[in-house]
């Protein structure tokens, strides 16, 4: 394990330094400053806005939605998240380029709505199935009577 750790860390540091060296020697200084701003902003937005938002939604769900329903709601949000993250930049850029490029010609607001509707429907169906199964078990237990 120790050998592996040293080997991986050393290779990683060397490759990373090579990248930094190329970056600093082949990029104009003003561009490096912009890049630095983007890098810091990315972490600030992720750690300061996006993550607290996700934690907050999770906390709110735990407070307000009973566990069985929450499971499917959480699943739906986790599945819908990746789709939304990718679709939003497409929505912002759709229809701006010449048609011959065949680039972002669709209405991604509508497409996102379709996809999220499919996710929601699947989650609702799974939830309904879980409820029905529980009811079936309960009625079976009821027929067999207490103590069985």
């Amino acid at each position: 394990m120790r050998t592996w750790r040293i080997a991986l860390s050393t290779a990683g540091i060397l490759l990373g330094l090579f990248g930094v060296f190329r970056l600093f020697t082949e990029t104009p200084f003003s561009h490096l400053l912009w890049l630095l701003l983007w890098l810091v902003a990315a972490v600030a937005i992720h750690d300061g806005v996006l993550s607290p938002l996700v934690v907050g939604i999770g906390w709110l769900l735990a407070k307000t939605v009973p566990p069985r329903a929450r499971r499917f709601l959480q699943g739906g949000l986790i599945a819908g998240g990746p789709i939304t993250v990718v679709a939003i930049p497409m929505m912002l850029r759709q229809g701006l380029d010449p048609p011959a490029k065949a680039l972002l010609l669709q209405d991604f607001r509508v497409n996102l709505a379709y996809l999220l509707a499919v996710v929601a429907t699947i989650c609702l169906l799974l939830y309904a199935l879980a409820v029905a199964r529980k009811d079936a078990v309960r009625s079976m237990v009821g027929r067999l009577g207490p103590g069985s």
């Binding site: 990683g12 990315a42 934690v55």
Partner: protein, 400 residues
């Protein structure tokens, strides 16, 4: 090693209680993220090689779909990695609130390396995706910075794996539902952690299970891949609700990266005075009628863009080698083709090695005369060759 007691933390400090987070979950998602970045680095370097091959190792001409495959993988993997990284970062978010923030110089350096890793990974994925959307809201040169950041990201991932290897091994060895909960307190310092007190079971998840998180995230990411990859796996285009490009909507069934209007060649390309100038030992020029009389061949070569879209296409044209031979060259010649485009990064390209024999100077695409947006009157098309290197609106061929 000095352990900081939980009670020494500031009174108001975030406490993460969700039992879903666990090193076992992080190890699984994180390993996948690492593999994805390695795949992107490998395919990315192959793509850079397309643009600057060593003359002693030119790009092969077969398989014709090689670049189509590697670059399709690069962009599809990169897109899938965006949400994957978000899940990975969500799973370790409590680590941001470890107390004290820095306990030694070594610990400070590790946290710094993680800061740089997270920032470069996020920027790498975001700018790569926006590049595929032809959206450039930054001043720097995308191609070189994307490559150098790729080295930094993968280097820092290797370092991160080296530092965290014991945790990764623990995470993979532990059963997903039973592994320790990941909170802002490291399990090694938490007397109530399952691993420290075997009679204490890990808290059970109340709603969604850890496996449920993986399944739901996998379904979402799978949907992104399935609905976007039709831009290169062409039979899947009907599912392409998130496809950036749609090959069926391009002129003659092939999308265009730069239109004739954008290249400012609409008039030049359609001028009656157009000639193909051929420079070499025996210089000559050809009119469109001359070209039509030369022997033509047909070939199926995909057109593949660095941005990740591609489409198979049927071409008809004059073998480049035929034009080269008439100028006194042969299959070992180094050929430079020059566009009518007044300026532009890709207004010329060099063909050498096996591609000299395989390339066509195309006049027809999918059974029709080339559309002006596809390079009328004449364009280069070669197998296993990045899209923009298949120079359009040719005005000149130089045989060396």
């Amino acid at each position: 090693m000095s352990h900081t007691k939980v009670t020494e933390r500031p009174q108001r400090w975030p406490a993460f209680t969700s039992p879903i987070r666990s090193t076992a979950l992080t190890a699984r998602v994180g390993s996948l993220v690492g593999i994805c970045f390695l795949v992107c680095l490998g395919t990315g370097l192959l793509s850079h090689y397309q643009y600057r091959p060593w003359s002693w190792l030119p790009e092969p001409a077969s398989p014709v779909w090689l670049y189509r495959f590697t670059q399709g993988v690069h962009v599809a993997t990169g897109m899938a990695t965006i949400p994957l990284v978000l899940v990975k970062l969500w799973s370790v978010y409590p680590n941001l609130f470890r107390w004290p923030p820095m306990r030694s110089v070594k610990h400070a350096l590790e946290r710094l390396s993680i800061f740089v890793l997270v920032s470069t990974a996020l920027i790498q994925l975001t700018t790569g995706f926006l590049n595929a959307l032809n959206w450039y809201p930054w001043p720097w040169d995308f191609v070189s910075v994307h490559r150098f950041l790729g080295y930094v990201v993968v280097g820092l991932i290797l370092l991160h794996v080296g530092v965290k290897l014991p945790h990764i091994v623990y995470g993979w060895q532990a059963k997903l539902p039973e592994a320790d909960v990941l909170t802002e307190i490291p399990w090694s310092e938490n007397p109530n952690a399952h691993s420290n007190a075997c009679d204490v079971p890990p808290p059970a998840t109340t709603a969604l299970s850890r496996r449920g998180v993986l399944v739901a995230a996998g379904a979402g990411i799978g949907t992104v891949v399935l609905t976007s990859v039709g831009q290169t796996v062409t039979p899947l285009e009907p599912l392409g609700l998130l496809a950036i490009r749609q090959w069926t909507k391009g002129p003659q069934g092939v999308p265009v990266n730069k239109t004739a209007a954008q290249a400012a060649v609409v008039e030049l390309a359609q001028s009656a005075d157009w000639r193909l100038q051929v420079a070499g030992l025996q210089a000559y020029s050809l009119t469109l009628d001359d070209l039509e009389e030369l022997p033509q061949v047909e070939a199926d070569f995909p057109i593949t863009c660095v941005e990740g879209w591609s489409a198979g296409a049927h071409w008809q044209g004059i073998p480049l080698l035929e034009v080269v031979r008439r100028a006194g060259g042969d299959a070992s010649s180094r050929v430079r083709v020059v566009s009518l485009e007044p300026d532009g990064l890709y207004s010329t390209s060099v063909v050498e090695g096996p591609q000299v024999t395989a390339a066509l100077l195309a006049v027809h695409l999918n059974g029709e005369r080339l559309d002006v947006d596809h390079g009328y009157p004449l364009r280069l098309i070669a197998p296993n060759r990045a899209g923009v290197l298949n120079t359009k609106w040719l005005g000149r061929v130089e045989v060396n």
